[in-house]
């Protein structure tokens, strides 16, 4: 088996690091999206349990699905802290 020279090794490591960096950015973006989605879902979930709230209680998974619907088509335009109301 041929030995790799130092330059080849360095190039391989740099390449792997660059790929890892790209993957890290993608994961960070997904986590940031999930944090916004979960915040909105949590608000919807809590709102559905508020005494006097309209409609049925929803589960957290249902709230996440609603939040996904609200966030994805708009290109994630919802800001944290926005007010949300559930449909009756």
């Amino acid at each position: 088996m041929a030995k790799l020279d130092k330059q080849t090794l360095k190039t391989a490591v740099d390449s792997a690091l660059a790929q890892a960096g790209d993957e890290l950015n993608e994961t960070a973006a997904r986590m940031a999206y999930e944090m916004r989605r979960d915040k909105l879902a949590f608000d919807l979930f809590a709102e559905s349990r508020r005494p006097g709230a309209k409609g049925n209680r929803i589960s957290l998974n249902e709230a996440k699905a609603i939040a996904d619907e609200k966030l994805k088509p708009s290109g994630d335009r919802l800001e944290a802290g926005s007010s949300h109301t559930l449909e009756a």
Binding site: T27, R30, D38, K39, A46, R49, L60
Partner: protein, 316 residues
């Protein structure tokens, strides 16, 4: 008999709008708080219910992306809030989602113990926090989900990138004078505690219904390896002409304590006025100066009272 009906396994928590994964096994302990019923002849002959609480405890996993949000949720109490009630009018629920497909919802929660933070290279930054769950407000007690609601719920693992988990060595500076401006601690790093005392609000009609913030105090502890006995006594300033002596305000011998990651974007702690409280000299093979404690005091800058401490991330 069944081979599969033995429920167990891990879970994650959703609270305060955050999905929180724990570093270790964790628990939710439910308890009926009770009052004794005694007789003179027989001692305790029974109990009556005061209220029901559940305490969720765990050590959250901190990532670069969620550290600030976790700090905001887990360490909400400041001295400026003394006298405030901790639970809002609209209940803040907490949901445990188990891997085996169950959700357990607690309707009304508040942080009852803020976690300690450990600034050390190979230790998770958050210690154990406690989330207390009360019964939902329901005077008639007609809703079976008042205390906890268990339901079937499909599990989906939250995103986790171990490469962003917070692990970092930290620099420690107490003031700007050597050798205190570059303190090197032992491997246990700096342990920071922000302790909030909460007083119960307990109407006779409803039992425990809220908590009121009574006090907030903060301190930091560490074992400095690069200080000698003379540094130790300079640190305590026991014979300082201005600061030392009976009746002197202890804040006079305080300095700013700054503990920050060596990595930009990772945690940073600042205590504007950290005052030495106690510490031992050791005559062993570990360190001449043992674990010292600095308490956070308050000071004003141009008439404005400074924060007890600030927790953030290193900007540059």
């Amino acid at each position: 008999m069944s081979r599969t009906n033995y429920p167990a396994g891990p879970a994650y928590l959703t609270a305060g709008g955050l999905t929180i994964e724990m570093a270790e096994d964790w628990k939710a302990i439910s308890q009926i708080m009770k009052a004794e019923m005694k007789t003179n002849l027989h001692g305790i002959v029974g109990y009556s219910e005061q209220y029901v609480i559940t305490k969720i405890t765990g050590k959250p996993v901190a990532l670069s992306g969620n550290f600030a949000a976790l700090v905001a949720y887990l360490l909400p109490y400041t001295p400026d809030m003394i006298g405030q009630l901790v639970m809002p009018d609209t209940d803040a629920p907490a949901i445990i989602q188990t891997r085996d497909g169950k959700s357990i919802t607690y309707p009304a929660t508040f942080i009852s113990k803020q976690p300690d933070l450990t600034f050390a290279a190979n230790t998770d930054i958050f210690g154990e926090f406690e989330l207390t769950c009360l019964r939902a407000y329901d005077p008639d007690l007609t809703d079976p989900t008042d205390v906890a609601e268990v339901a079937a719920s499909a599990f989906a693992a939250p995103s986790l990138d171990p490469l962003t988990r917070i692990r970092s060595p930290y620099t420690v500076a107490w003031g700007a004078t050597a050798p205190f401006d570059a303190i090197e601690t032992d491997k246990s790093g700096v342990k920071f505690t922000a302790d909030a005392k909460l007083a119960p609000v307990e109407p006779d009609l409803s039992g425990l219904i809220n908590m009121r913030i009574e006090s907030v105090e903060a301190s930091a502890k560490f074992t400095p390896l690069n200080l000698d006995a003379d540094d130790f006594y300079n640190f305590l300033a026991l014979s300082h002409a201005t600061a030392a002596g009976v009746g002197k305000v202890l804040g006079l011998r305080g300095q700013q304590l700054t503990v920050q990651s060596t990595k930009v974007g990772d945690p940073k702690l600042v205590i504007p006025l950290a005052v030495p409280d106690e510490g031992p000299l050791g005559f062993d093979l570990k360190s001449r100066v043992g674990e010292v404690t600095l308490n956070a005091h308050r000071k004003a800058v141009t008439g404005v009272l400074q924060a007890l401490y600030t927790l953030g991330v290193r900007a540059a």
